[in-house]
């Protein structure tokens, strides 16, 4: 279950195939509130069972081990973040990506900000100058991966089922199957959600937040965690500005109030405005992690 919003993690599928979700299996069954009676019954039963086998199993099972001399309560230092398991998978992804010279970015936004349209145009604009693959995250459907594949790029769809975000384990599995080429660009389109994906490191180089001008200027203030976690914000759909009352300066001030080091680019995935800067940012990121220097400057 998601540690942030409480959504379920079951039913995760990559390209329609169910993947084993170790975390889901490890989660204990939670007795429902108000089910005290049923709970007590189970409890007593377990007690009888264990008691009957006491002498046979004493000190052998992992939950029953008695260390010699252990006779009093002791404090165990843990200092573990509640999200530490995800962070371990993220570190593994990051190492693997670095070894292969792959520049990975995690695109996060609310639903409908234009992430997929932006990716399609980005891949088309990069053409053959830079190899790009895509991991698509959505609760349901493979529609977005199909839109990406129509450009000729390889894409893999993760359906999170009840889940509200991609986690590092899902992305690790997806990287394994997608096998992005060495020295390439990996674009991860997260589930459209401005809350939960902020807390889950996927092993990416940067989170890129997309805010479209059809949303409110104060969105960074309403969802500060996401804009704090991002290194770059794309202000998308700027071709619509003449028809809206959206105040760009107010939006940028809100974003910088939440994250003073946030870089901002203004783009339109429909007209291609601002794409020179965006593509230059991507190329610079790729060049910085390449293992083999490019034959000619991009």
């Amino acid at each position: 279950m998601c540690n942030v919003c409480g959504c379920g993690t079951g039913e995760v599928r990559i390209e329609g195939l169910s993947i084993a979700n170790e975390r889901a299996q490890m989660l204990p069954v939670v007795p429902g509130l108000g089910q005290g009676h049923a709970h007590d019954h189970d409890h007593d039963h377990a007690h009888d069972h264990v008691h009957a086998h006491d002498h046979l199993h004493f000190g052998q099972g992992p939950a029953h081990a008695h260390a010699p001399g252990l006779s009093q309560a002791r404090m165990v230092q843990i200092e573990q973040d509640i999200l530490s398991k995800n962070d371990g998978y993220a570190d593994a992804n990051r190492r693997r990506l670095a070894q292969r010279g792959i520049f990975a970015i995690n695109l996060v936004s609310s639903p409908g900000s234009g992430k997929t349209t932006l990716l399609v145009r980005t891949i088309e604009a990069l053409g053959t100058s830079l190899s790009a693959t895509v991991i698509e995250g959505d609760q349901q459907t493979a529609n977005d991966a199909e839109r990406i594949r129509a450009t000729g790029a390889r894409a893999l769809q993760i359906n999170t089922g009840k889940g509200c975000h991609l986690d590092a384990q899902m992305v690790g599995d997806a990287i394994e199957r997608l096998a992005p080429p060495d020295d390439s660009l990996l674009l991860i389109e997260n589930v459209g959600n401005l809350v939960c994906p902020a807390s889950f490191d996927l092993g990416e180089a940067h989170k890129v937040a997309i805010l479209s001008v059809t949303e409110g200027e104060d969105k960074p203030l309403k969802y500060p965690d996401m804009f704090q976690a991002a290194d770059l914000m794309l202000l998308n759909k700027i071709d619509l500005l003449p028809y809206l009352s959206f105040d760009v300066e107010r939006a940028l001030a809100a974003a910088r109030q939440v994250n003073p080091r946030l870089q901002v680019l203004q783009v339109s995935a429909t007209t291609g405005e601002g794409f020179d800067e965006w593509l230059a940012w991507l190329r610079a990121g790729c060049a910085a992690v390449r293992r083999v220097p490019a034959a000619e400057p991009a």
Binding site: M1, L27, A65, Q77, Q80
Partner: protein, 125 residues
């Protein structure tokens, strides 16, 4: 209200640790929770009691150490207290403040009791 799943995350860490330590009943769990993290302590405490029922941490006392919000003001070049993640600097009013503390959600430590015969039934679950 996501405290129920946070409580499950805590229990998972507690159970992993107890297994690594060779078992025993858990009597105290200490968390460090940033005051700017989106956590309501009373709700987390309630959910912790619910998810630990029937586990090795059943009946454990949950202690929460609150970590106050702090940020680094780039203009003042010093750490300042923050009441919210998007606060301006309380000294100079600058918005160039980077949050440095207050977002934590950490399991700090826990106390393990030696198993007594009448407690083994709890540990076995």
């Amino acid at each position: 209200m996501h405290e129920m799943s946070l409580a499950e995350g805590v229990l998972q860490i507690v159970e992993d640790t107890a297994r690594r330590e060779g078992g025993g009943r858990v009597s105290v769990v200490v968390l460090e929770i940033g005051q700017l993290a989106a956590v309501v302590p009373e709700a987390l405490s309630f959910c912790f009691d619910a998810v630990t029922r029937g586990s090795i941490a059943e009946g454990a006392r949950l202690e929460m150490i609150a970590l106050p919000g702090e940020g680094y003001c780039m203009r003042c070049e010093r750490t300042v207290p923050l009441q919210s993640p998007v606060d301006a600097c309380p000294r100079c009013g600058s918005g160039q403040v980077q949050l440095t503390q207050g977002n934590e959600m950490r399991v700090k430590e826990m106390q393990i009791e030696p198993e007594a015969p009448d407690e083994r039934r709890v540990a076995a679950r």
